[in-house]
């Protein structure tokens, strides 16, 4: 019998749970991209070493329980009011990092006034905007970002723009605000884009660090459960249908960010 020879190699940690994430399972559906967005934020906070200086503001929607997964201080806002709540926090604690995590119904529908004015004031907060073109938590109703013709439980025959209006491009709108320091759209549908999304999240927090005004990263995301297709098909659907309407662009980059490499 020949004894097995185990080759001695140096153990390298190449992947681990960020300290900013709790070691708990999430409630998100299989294939949902919230988990990816959470992880990217956690990695950025770890890398910037600001976990203990950060306060998150959770929205109403599927990510209402975001604070169960992040391991830093959190508050939970009323539907759409996260930017107002974040403003209150940031104004009394200007040396902390404050960010909101909001879905499309939260940010672009019920919270339109709060997001517009937070951007208009150049409120020095960061917004992570999850755009999956649907209301997830309540079971797949039409969102302000639902695409034309998109079938949802409240637009069963497809979104008719004549009667239901047009999908809102929030990054484009908010980038027109003088108070906005960093507004970009990214997507979470494949590894290359996920890496770009992480860089954008880092830049948004770097914007806040430098007090350059309102920063927002819009993340195109999937909702396989409410779209009614498989996780894999959802990624393809996002690429084929959402990106043409919601282009992945840098809409506003403050000149103060020039030379910042992440």
């Amino acid at each position: 019998m020949v004894s097995e020879v185990i080759p001695q190699t140096e153990v390298q940690t190449v992947y681990m749970r960020p300290a900013s994430l709790k070691n708990v399972p999430t409630h998100y559906c299989p294939g949902c991209t919230h988990g990816i967005a959470h992880r990217l934020i956690a990695e950025v906070l770890d890398e910037m070493d600001i976990r203990e200086q950060t306060i998150g503001v959770a929205p109403v929607g599927c990510s209402v329980f975001a604070y169960n997964y992040f391991d830093f201080d959190f508050v939970e806002a009323a539907h759409g009011r996260a930017p107002a709540m974040a403003t209150g926090i940031k104004r009394v604690l200007p040396d902390r990092y404050v960010f909101t995590y909001q879905g499309d119904g939260d940010l672009a529908s019920i919270g339109m006034a709060e997001i517009m004015h937070a951007a208009g004031r150049g409120e020095n907060i960061t917004v992570i905007f999850i755009n999956n073109a649907i209301y997830g938590m309540t079971g797949g109703q039409m969102a302000p970002t639902s695409l034309a013709g998109m079938k949802t439980t409240s637009s069963p025959n497809g979104r008719d723009v004549e009667t239901m209006g047009f999908p809102l491009r929030m990054s484009e709108v908010l980038s027109k605000m003088d108070g906005a320091g960093y507004i970009v759209r990214r997507s979470l549908h494949d590894p290359a884009n996920i890496r770009k999304a992480k860089k954008a999240i880092r830049m948004a927090f770097e914007t806040q660090k430098r007090c350059l005004g309102f920063s927002m990263v819009e993340l195109l995301s999937t909702c396989p459960t409410n779209w009614g297709i498989t996780p894999q098909d959802s990624l393809i659907w996002l690429e084929e249908h959402m990106i043409p309407y919601y282009p992945l662009e840098d809409f506003k980059i403050s000149p103060g960010l020039e030379g910042v490499k992440v």
């Binding site: 976990r51 203990e52 200086q53 950060t54 306060i55 503001v57 959770a58 209402v64 329980f65 604070y67 992040f70 391991d71 830093f72 201080d73 959190f74 508050v75 939970e76 806002a77 009323a78 009011r81 107002a84 709540m85 974040a86 403003t87 209150g88 926090i89 104004r91 009394v92 604690l93 902390r96 006034a113 709060e114 517009m116 004015h117």
Partner: protein
């Protein structure tokens, strides 16, 4: 300190400043706008936070956020603006963070007008926002009380981690009177142990109003009502005038109570043994005190600047053991002392009505042409 000639709204603002308020978020609305204007000057001057929000909805949520950091925070508004704040107030109640709100009440419903009213009694005392919670509500009747209760509001809000409101009708907000402001208190340097301010060297904290498991929400609701009974036991406040030998009692809060005092004095001069009971806290409601008064009174007259919102609470606690009558002006009309005096005389000299609806009798007097509206 010496007395100064002060407007109610300015006085409440400066009282809050001296009580150590760290952040003010508000939106202009008559008749409380001077409060916001005062803050816009004073707060930045002192290196504190002032922000004019895009709406009352945003203002109250800014208060919510700032309150979660453990800072002393407030807003102020008037009736329609307070309606808009109800969502945020419910969340604040559901999170047990302290906050102070001043409501300078105006005529309503709807856009109503900008004249003094007490029409927000039910909105502030019996809820307003959704869910199962209660607020402390303090009712000043003078500029001096407006100052004193604004300071008290912060202390009560923080002691119990609750919303404390100052319900000042428009006349208290707008009137000028000599009053004394308190000494400037230093801004608190300590942070409460529940506050969310960055998890530096400690486990992370969450402040939320969501309890998705009904069993946990039930425990939370239970905790809130137990706390409320503590507040009832400790914090009921009221003022009594000429009640020692009184056969008749007038009950009124805020401006209505203050005007009633003039009528009570005039009635005393005529030999009618009448006194005044003026609730300072309408929430918690001085139920036991009013029930006691009812046991010995030959009649109670409730005077309000609304259609009898507090009357319903008075009737609930007195259970009609003594005759109750009602008089009100509404819609921004302030009663004259003579009108109340007439009602006191009627109560003292005419046959007593035990039982029945005092508000209906009041309306009947209007239908009969005994009383008239504007």
């Amino acid at each position: 300190m010496t007395k100064e000639f002060l407007e109610g709204n300015f006085a409440m603002a400066e009282a809050a400043v001296r009580a150590g308020v760290e952040a003010y978020f508000g939106y202009p609305i008559t008749p409380q706008t001077e409060l916001l204007e005062w803050m816009s000057q004073r707060m930045p001057e002192l290196g504190r936070v002032f922000l004019q929000a895009e709406s009352e909805v945003a203002a109250v949520n800014m208060v919510y956020g700032a309150a979660c950091t453990g800072a002393r925070v407030m807003s102020s508004s008037s009736s329609p603006g307070v309606s808009l704040m109800m969502e945020g107030l419910s969340y604040i109640a559901g999170t047990e963070v302290p906050a102070v709100l001043i409501d300078v009440v105006r005529g309503g419903p709807g856009l109503g007008n900008i004249a003094p009213s007490q029409g927000d009694y039910n909105q502030l005392v019996h809820g307003g926002g959704h869910g199962d919670y209660r607020n402390i509500v303090l009712c000043p009747a003078s500029v001096q009380e407006a100052i004193d209760y604004t300071v008290l509001a912060f202390d009560l809000a923080e002691k119990y981690r609750i919303i404390c409101m100052v319900m000042a009708d428009g006349s208290v907000g707008q009137m000028w009177e000599p009053a004394e402001l308190p000494e400037m208190r230093p801004v608190r340097k300590t942070t409460p142990e529940w506050a969310v301010n960055g998890a530096k060297g400690r486990p992370s904290r969450v402040l939320t109003s969501i309890y998705i498991d009904p069993a946990i929400e039930e425990v939370y609701n239970h905790k809130l009502i137990e706390k409320w009974y503590q507040i009832e036991a400790n914090e009921i406040r009221f003022k009594e005038y000429y009640l020692d030998d009184a056969e008749y009692v007038v009950i009124g809060f805020g401006s209505a109570g203050r005007i009633a005092l003039s009528a009570v004095r005039a009635a005393r001069a005529e030999g009618i043994k009448v006194g005044l009971f003026r609730p300072i806290t309408v929430s918690p409601f001085p139920a036991a005190q009013i029930a006691d008064l009812a046991k010995n009174a030959q009649g109670i007259l409730v005077v309000e600047m609304n259609t009898g919102q507090m009357l319903e609470d008075v009737r609930k606690v007195t259970r009609d053991v003594c005759p109750i009558e009602f008089f009100a002006r509404m819609g921004g009309i302030v009663p004259f002392p003579d009108e109340i005096l007439t009602e006191i005389r009627r109560m003292a000299h005419e046959p007593k009505n035990l039982g029945g609806d005092p508000r209906l009798r009041w309306l009947q007097r209007h239908r009969d042409g005994v009383l008239s509206f504007a």
